[in-house]
């Protein structure tokens, strides 16, 4: 097991996608103090991203920028050849809350193949069922909506400590470091401002293939399960936009022949306590850069909160400790003070 973990880590540090997949044993056992995991919310909303449908057009990236009023991303080393026409972000940032990344291997001949192939992956907030960012924020500025389960940031509360940036296991929230004084946290909020107007999230509305599908999490899960039984050669009718056709414009479905076999796993079903955004893929998830294999099926927040709860529940233990310590201090301070008084009296006398 440790060999595999080491392999995984060396891949992760090398950042390369050019070695064997690390197959890692079952998640580590939970620690004793762990709190119970949060359950899924019945009316939760989310996305289903099907990597095998994605053609890498990045319309969703542009759609997200437009829906959320974010500028194009041009890194300093791209300025010479990119005068501002292309959005060339290579990861999530304060400017880019949704990004399509490419997995490439060898000769990159076949789509959705691990060796000598390529694939796409959409990165954004997964709206965790039991989010670390909500657990760790000291001022309740990361909020998980009671009904929809959408995780959003309230900048009026946020103090900019960036613990959520540090703690999110998916590397999602980003603090706008470039802003002089008005920096804030930027992350996907599932376009809740658009949903309020019965419009689809920017990325879903622009996706031409239905690779990014919007819907109730329960429905999305069923849809994902339907796809997992498909075999190469089968024809499937893929919906687009809102799975139930309630939000946004009516977008007709399309038929497609399955080319690459789906991996038999719905990413986001259980990983790290589960998420409201699922991923289906033919290429192993860790090769696409998603934490997989080296992470447990519970949120890390269940561990930290368990310890926290154990020590500070109702502040009983600290109060008892304080009374005991103060009593001991009182005992010795009486002796010390007697010494002290004697000594100062002596001083007084001597003066």
């Amino acid at each position: 097991m440790d060999i595999n973990r080491r392999q995984f880590l060396s891949h992760a540090t090398a950042g390369g996608a050019a070695a064997t997949a690390a197959v890692i044993a079952a998640p580590e056992p939970a620690q004793a103090l762990q709190r119970a995991p949060h359950p899924r919310k019945p009316e939760a909303l989310g996305l289903l991203y099907d990597s095998t449908l994605c053609v890498g057009c990045k319309a969703c990236v542009a759609g997200c920028k437009e829906a959320n009023d974010r500028p194009v991303e041009i890194y300093p080393d791209q300025e010479s050849w990119n005068p501002g026409l292309w959005d060339t972000g290579k990861g999530l940032s304060a400017k880019t809350m949704n990004v399509i990344l490419a997995y490439r291997d060898g000769s990159m001949e076949v789509k959705d193949r691990e060796t000598d192939g390529f694939a796409f992956i959409k990165r954004q907030c997964l709206h965790c069922v039991d989010p670390s960012c909500v657990s760790c924020c000291p001022v309740s500025a990361m909020i998980k909506d009671e009904v929809t389960g959408i995780v959003y940031n309230d900048a009026d509360r946020c103090i900019g400590c960036r613990y959520c940036v540090y703690g999110c296991p998916f590397g999602v929230p980003k603090y706008d470091l470039e802003a002089a004084v008005t920096g804030k946290i930027h992350k996907c909020e599932l376009c809740r401002h658009r949903l309020a107007e019965n419009r689809l999230p920017g990325c879903v509305e622009t996706c031409p293939t239905g690779a990014t599908l919007f819907g109730r999490v329960e429905d999305l899960m069923l849809e994902a399960k339907r796809r997992l039984v498909l075999r190469p050669g089968d024809v499937y009718t893929y919906p687009r936009g809102d799975l139930n056709g309630r939000v946004g414009p009516d977008t007709p479905p399309h038929d497609k022949v399955i080319e690459a076999a789906y991996l038999p796993e719905i990413y986001g079903d259980r990983v790290l306590g589960g998420t409201q955004t699922f991923v289906l893929s033919a290429v192993p998830f860790d090769r696409l850069g998603l934490p997989h294999g080296n992470v447990p099926n519970h949120s890390y927040a269940t561990e930290t909160e368990g310890i926290q709860h154990f020590m500070y529940k109702g502040m009983i233990a600290p109060t008892v400790a304080l009374v005991a310590l103060a009593a001991l201090a009182y005992r010795s301070s009486r002796q010390h003070r007697e010494d002290d008084d004697n000594a100062s009296d002596a001083d007084e006398g001597g003066r």
Partner: protein, 394 residues
């Protein structure tokens, strides 16, 4: 009996020395960086990135700086909880260092806060998130800074001959002493819980269910080591006798705590099968081994009982323990942290200058206050003291 120990007195002497001027220059440079940070933002003054949201201002100035400020904690435990009055001569200097360490750690947080203008939000109970380990840590540190001020206040009252006030203060001091023994244990251990949340992003060499305990232990080891280090430095630098008998007794305690720490780490790393990473090469492995060797070195130096009463081995051991604690915490917060996706971090000159500036404030503040306030135990008749100081102490 414990009644005969020397009473604290101001050291006296010149404040403006070339060394002091040097410290002021560093502070000035740090001040310029601070202007840059508050006018042009964090991105302009630091090498923080989307992958590394926390740099050395958090890991060194806060997480390590407050551990350097744990002298007040450990001496208070010895002097007041275990009721070993003979340790009280070390008390005031330890409290003062703690006050500096914590106040400056708090200042570093304010500098680092992105949305500092609404930093007061953390004091609004209706925004509190009780599940946040950081909330507990932050509030606890803020209260502790106030507690330290009360704990240290008798020195100030003495200096200004406020005898009545001091007496009244001493009557309720046990409350502050109790808090002073408890609060640092709470937030120092929480600093370990904070990085448990990092999960797989923290290398298995440091990620552990016992992080909470390890941070508590390193608070004590670094606290002890700082007291030792400082007493010896003050002895040599200010040409005073060193409180050797006390230090050597503490050394025995240090030894055992270090042995427990290293043993736990060893068992833990074995149980989680993390050892291969120690031999994987690279900066993580290197930092791991320096951290470990420093711990083993300190144990080896402190094990022979004769060493503990000699200045040189004791000094070296305390330096090694500080190195161990420093690296352990840096590894947990920065070096062992791997956000992936090609991110890398090395502090900017500005970040380093601010950190140096904070250390300079600490050292300069120490030098000024020990000369002006009754902090260090009075020294026989070895050195003529200024009139004011003599009047205050004798």
């Amino acid at each position: 009996m414990t009644t005969t120990h020397a009473r604290p007195a101001p050291v006296g002497g010149r404040i403006i020395t070339p060394f002091f001027v040097f410290l002021c220059v560093i502070m000035g440079a740090a001040g310029i960086v601070l202007i840059q940070r508050f006018v042009f933002g964090l991105g302009a003054s630091t090498h923080l990135s989307d992958g590394y949201p926390w740099g050395i201002w958090i890991s060194i100035d806060l997480i390590i700086g407050t551990a350097f400020g744990c002298g007040g904690l450990v001496v208070a435990w010895l002097a007041y909880i275990f009721n070993k009055g003979e340790y009280s001569p070390l008390m005031r200097a330890a409290l003062m260092t703690s006050l500096f360490g914590y106040a400056l750690g708090g200042a570093a947080v304010m500098i680092d806060l992105g949305r500092w203008w609404q930093g007061y939000n953390i004091m609004l109970p209706w925004l509190w998130n009780p599940r946040s380990v950081m909330l507990e840590t932050a509030l606890c540190i803020m209260v502790y800074i106030v507690v330290l001020m009360f704990e240290f206040s008798p020195s100030v009252f003495e200096r200004f001959k406020m005898r009545e006030t001091k007496q009244r203060m001493m009557k309720i001091m046990f409350i502050f002493t109790g808090l002073g023994c408890l609060l640092p244990m709470m937030h120092q251990s929480s600093m370990g819980t904070i990085v448990i949340l990092l999960g797989y992003k923290l290398s298995p060499l440091w990620q552990s269910n016992l992080l909470t305990l390890y941070f508590l232990i390193t608070a004590f080891t670094m606290g002890y080591a700082v007291v030792c280090f400082e007493s010896i430095m003050a002895g040599v630098g200010l040409k005073r006798p060193i409180e050797m008998p006390l230090l050597s007794k503490i050394a025995g305690v240090m030894l055992w705590i270090m042995v427990i720490f290293v043993t736990l780490r060893f068992v833990d790393l074995t149980a989680t099968e993390a050892w291969p990473l120690a031999f994987a090469g690279g900066i993580e492995s290197a930092s791991f081994w320096i951290e470990m060797l420093a711990a083993v070195g300190a144990i080896a130096l402190l094990a022979p009982i004769g060493n503990r009463s000699q200045v040189r081995p004791l000094f070296l051991a305390s330096v090694l323990m500080l190195t161990n604690g420093f690296l352990y915490r840096l590894n947990c917060y920065l070096i062992g942290f791997n956000p992936g996706e090609h991110y890398s971090y090395f502090p900017s000159i500005g970040e380093v200058l601010v950190t140096l500036g904070i250390i300079a404030v600490h050292v300069a503040g120490y030098l000024v206050l020990v000369r002006l306030l009754p902090v260090l135990p009075a020294v026989g008749r070895a050195k003529p003291l200024p009139a004011a100081a003599v009047a205050a102490s004798h």
